[in-house]
């Protein structure tokens, strides 16, 4: 079942004079679970943004499910293929939980349906089922800003369940959580994704988690692929090299 879903060919991206990604190539198969690691500024977020179609690469080719990403300009079409989850600031804090979850349906709804739903939530069932899966059913009508960091992360997960894309991208989804909560979210995420055979690409700061929850690790450094290996082949010396400092003064 090694059918490829993402193909990247010589992807490059720079901001003003800063090169964020230089000539990246890799292939990702359907159903793979991938961790993206690397020091600050390595280009993880940039890569995920390109994968999500939020940022456009300067050059190179990006095929999503066999078709170039330019065929996915319409957001509601793209949203069925790819979903993104980041830290809690992805949610609209001033809306109730249920609205944030139902936002995963916006790609399917028209303008008036979404306007009405803002006042009288439609498809409550869908939202309830997703919230139940992440264990937050009782917070359905709570204001999102009142939830703790870990709970907000679960709400974002519930939104993705409602959106139900083929590929799920996550940028440091557990950076601000304590160890217990972080592991909780990661295991929940990998569990839920397995059911539906979705592809998962997650950037992480912690090598420990990357090894524990993901089968393949792609390491970036200075915008290049430093290594791309199955988790069990990643050695401590490789990691030490990956994170080696080039002198603090250079960052900032």
């Amino acid at each position: 079942m090694s059918e490829s879903i993402i193909k990247m060919n010589n992807i490059a991206k720079h901001f003003e004079r800063k090169i964020a990604l230089s000539s990246l190539s890799f292939i990702i198969n359907k159903g793979e679970h991938i961790a993206l690691i690397g020091p600050s500024g390595a280009g993880k977020s940039t890569l995920l943004n390109i994968l999500a179609g939020i940022t456009n690469a300067d050059s190179g080719e990006y095929l999503l499910d066999g078709k170039s990403i330019v065929n996915y300009q319409k957001r509601n079409i793209r949203s069925r293929k790819i979903g993104v989850i980041r830290q809690q600031f992805d949610l609209i804090a001033s809306l109730p939980v249920i609205q944030n979850v139902l936002a995963g349906k916006l790609g399917e709804w028209g303008f008036f349906k979404s306007l009405i739903s803002l006042l009288f939530p439609i498809e409550k069932e869908t939202a309830a089922r997703a919230l139940n899966q992440v264990g937050l059913l009782d917070k359905m009508y709570e204001q999102t800003s009142r939830l703790s960091g870990g709970e907000q992360q679960r709400v974002a997960l519930a939104r993705l369940l409602v959106q139900n894309p083929e590929v799920i991208l996550a940028d440091e989804p557990v950076a601000s959580l304590d160890p217990a909560r972080a592991e909780d979210i990661l295991s929940l995420m990998t569990e839920l994704v397995k059911d539906k055979k979705q592809t998962l690409i997650v950037s992480l700061h912690s090598v420990e988690y990357a090894k524990k929850y993901f089968s393949r690790i792609i390491a970036l450094r200075d915008g290049e692929i430093f290594f791309d290996l199955p988790s069990e082949h990643v050695t401590d010396s490789l990691l030490a090299n990956l994170y080696a400092l080039k002198g603090e003064a250079k960052d900032g």
Binding site: A52, G53, I54, R75, N76, I77, R78, S79, R80, I82, G83, V84, I85, R86, F89, D90, L91, I92, A93, S94, L95, Q99, A103, G104, L106, G107, E108, W109, F111, S114, L115, L118, Q143, S145, R146, A156, R159, Q163
Partner: protein, 266 residues
């Protein structure tokens, strides 16, 4: 030279503050500072005004009149604000450019609407009032429009700025979930600015009450009209009564908006 630039950046804020202070000092030279500034009888008048402050006119007729004028003042303020909010909503969204799809659109449309908002708020509401009275006569609508137009400009600009200052992550997240521009407005921009915009509108409402009070100076009723009549008869005690009603109205709205800000969750 390098050292000089260094000096400039290090002391930039202090230098700017110093410059502002110097400009202020310059303005002080426009006045000849001597006893001549005061009317020979200024002292007497001051005393009379302060005596009246301690003994405002509390006779029933004046109180009823004050209550009535307070109501009219409030009516014009509320009506003016409702027009301002409608103007600000549409013009603010257009001026912020959050709905623009292309870069050209962004600059052309938002530039154009920012220009309109800038013009409407550049002119003081009393000048608008005078223009309207001259054009459509002494109709209550002259007062309502005169309030609504500049306040629409102010609110619209702030609204646009707030929309522009929103962190882009939640909006990006909505977009990746497949939301269209209009849907991001409904599910992202508007809920995110709601609390801020409401507390700003409340603050402006308080200001509009004061503005509505002075609309009378072009002949439109309200508290200012009574204040002006009493002042022209030199009845300082009545003036203070009316002023106390105005202060009470402002304090009430201020208290309301404070409470609301506290109770409203972000």
């Amino acid at each position: 030279m390098g050292k000089f630039l260094y000096f400039l950046t290090y002391y930039k804020k202090s230098l700017l503050t110093l410059l502002l202070i110097l400009i202020f000092v310059w303005s002080l030279f426009s006045v000849q500072w001597n006893a001549d500034l005061l009317h020979p009888g200024g002292g007497v008048t001051t005393k009379q005004i302060f005596q009246a402050l301690l003994a405002p006119d509390l006779s029933p007729e004046i109180l009823i009149l004050a209550l009535e004028s307070t109501w009219i003042t409030l009516v014009y303020a509320v009506a003016g604000m409702s027009i301002a909010i409608i103007l600000a909503f549409f013009f603010g969204i257009l001026a912020s450019g959050v709905l623009s799809t292309s870069r050209f659109n962004l600059f052309a449309v938002s530039g154009f609407f920012r220009g309109i908002l800038g013009f409407t708020r550049a002119i003081h509401e009393l000048v608008w009032a005078w223009l309207f009275v001259a054009a459509i006569g002494l109709s209550p609508f002259a007062a309502v429009f005169a309030l609504g137009i500049p306040y629409g400009g102010i609110l619209g600009k702030i609204f646009a700025d707030m929309l522009n200052d929103i962190p882009e992550e939640p909006i990006k997240a909505l977009e990746t979930a497949g939301a269209s521009k209009l849907q991001t407005l409904l599910y992202g921009y508007l809920p995110l600015v709601r609390a801020n915009i409401i507390s700003y509108v409340m603050y402006r409402f308080e200001c509009s009450v004061r503005s509505s009070a002075i609309m009378s100076f072009v002949g439109l009723g309200g508290l200012g009209y009574q204040i002006q009549l009493s002042l022209s008869d030199l009845q300082y005690d009545e003036v203070w009564t009316f002023l106390f009603f105005l202060i009470a109205l402002v304090v009430l709205i201020d208290a309301w908006s404070n409470l609301l800000r506290k109770r409203m969750v972000l």
